[in-house]
C-alpha cells in the first residue's frame, strides 16, 4: 500500500469540473461566454460580486486556463479586460452537457 499519488484530474469529481462548478465562477463564466471580452466593472455589475471576490475567482479561472486577463492602458489609466479562452468555452460547454445529463 503506497501513498496515494496526486490525481492528474484533480479539481474534477465524477467528471464534473469543480473549477466551473463553483457558483460564483459559473456565473462569471456564463457572463463571459456570451460576450467576446469584458472588464472588471462590467463583471461586477453582472455578477454582483465585490472587487476582491471577483479578482480571486478570476485568478482561479486564469490558473485553470479558462480565462485570459489582459492589462492595458485606456487614456493613461490601467484597464483590465477578461476574455474566455477556447479551453474555457470547452469546459463550460462540457459542464452544461453534464448538467443536462443529470436533468438539471
Amino acid at each position: 500500500m503506497g501513498r496515494k499519488r496526486a490525481d492528474p484530474t484533480a479539481g474534477q469529481l465524477g467528471g464534473i469540473d469543480r473549477v466551473v462548478h463553483e457558483p460564483a465562477r459559473l456565473v462569471i463564466l456564463a457572463n463571459l461566454y456570451v460576450v467576446e471580452s469584458a472588464d472588471y466593472t462590467y463583471l461586477m455589475n453582472r455578477t454582483g460580486l465585490t472587487w476582491g471576490n471577483l479578482s480571486a475567482h478570476l485568478s482561479k479561472l486564469e490558473e485553470a486556463g479558462y480565462v485570459k486577463i489582459e492589462k492595458d492602458f485606456v487614456e493613461k489609466k490601467p484597464h483590465t479586460m477578461v476574455r474566455m479562452t477556447n479551453n474555457g468555452r470547452v469546459a463550460f460547454d462540457n459542464y452544461r452537457n453534464q448538467m443536462r445529463k443529470f436533468g438539471l
Partner: protein, 208 residues
C-alpha cells in the same frame, strides 16, 4: 443556466443593459426640442442657407454632445466595458448599412429640394410630403430599435412619425416640444434610476 435559451437571454439582457441608462431617449427628445427651437426662432424662414445650416448643426450637435458626454463620463464608467460577440457586430454592420441608405435618400431629397428652390420650381407642401417625412423618420428609428433590441425605440419611432407627419395640421413648434417631452420623460426617469442603481465606485478608477 443549462440551456441555450438562458444564455441567449443572458446575452440579450447584457446588451439591453447598455440601453437602460435613458440617454438615447434623452438624445432623441433633445433632437425634437432642437427642431422646436429652430422653428420657434424662425430659422426656417432665414434666407441665408449657410446660417440656417449652421444653426441647425449647432442645435443638433448640442443634443449629440449631451448624449456623448453622458455616455462617456457618466454611464460608461459605471457599466464597464464589454465587447459583444460576432452576431452583435454583424447586426451593427447591417444597421450601419441600412442607416447609410436612409441618409443617402435624405441627402438626395435635400439636394433635389435645393435644386428645385434655386430654379424657383414649386415645392410640394401638401399632405403626402409630411406623411412621407413622418413614415421615413419613423421607419429609420424603428429600424434602429429592431437592430438594437431596444423595444422603447418603437414608442420613440411613433412619436417621431407623428411629429413629422402631422406638421401640416398642427403648430410645428408645439408638436416638436410636446413630442420631445414625451420621448424625454421616460429617458430622464431611466437615467435617474440608472444613477441610483449604479453609484460610482472606487473600483472604476482602478482597472474597470
Amino acid at each position: 443556466m443549462n440551456n441555450s435559451m438562458d444564455l441567449k437571454m443572458l446575452e440579450k439582457n447584457a446588451w439591453r443593459s447598455f440601453h437602460q441608462d435613458g440617454l438615447w431617449d434623452i438624445y432623441l427628445g433633445l433632437i425634437l426640442w432642437a427642431l422646436a427651437i429652430f422653428l420657434g426662432a424662425g430659422m426656417e424662414a432665414v434666407e441665408n442657407d449657410v446660417l440656417r445650416l449652421f444653426a441647425y448643426t449647432l442645435l443638433i450637435g448640442g443634443a449629440f454632445l449631451v448624449f456623448w458626454a453622458g455616455k462617456r463620463y457618466i454611464t460608461a464608467p459605471r457599466l464597464g466595458r464589454v465587447k459583444f460577440g460576432p452576431a452583435r457586430k454583424r447586426r451593427k454592420l447591417h444597421l450601419a448599412l441600412i442607416l447609410g441608405g436612409f441618409t443617402l435618400v435624405t441627402v438626395i431629397l435635400v439636394i433635389l429640394t435645393a435644386i428645385a428652390k434655386n430654379n424657383n420650381a414649386p415645392l410640394p407642401q401638401s399632405l403626402p410630403v409630411y406623411l412621407f417625412a413622418g413614415l421615413f423618420v419613423g421607419a429609420a428609428i424603428a429600424t434602429i430599435a429592431w437592430f438594437n433590441d431596444y423595444p422603447r425605440g418603437y414608442y420613440n419611432a411613433v412619436i417621431y412619425a407623428l411629429c413629422f407627419g402631422l406638421g401640416e395640421y398642427v403648430d410645428k413648434f408645439a408638436i416638436f416640444w410636446i413630442g420631445g417631452l414625451l420621448v424625454m420623460v421616460p429617458g430622464v426617469y431611466l437615467f435617474i434610476r440608472f444613477l441610483k442603481k449604479h453609484p460610482r465606485s472606487e473600483a472604476e478608477g482602478g482597472s474597470g
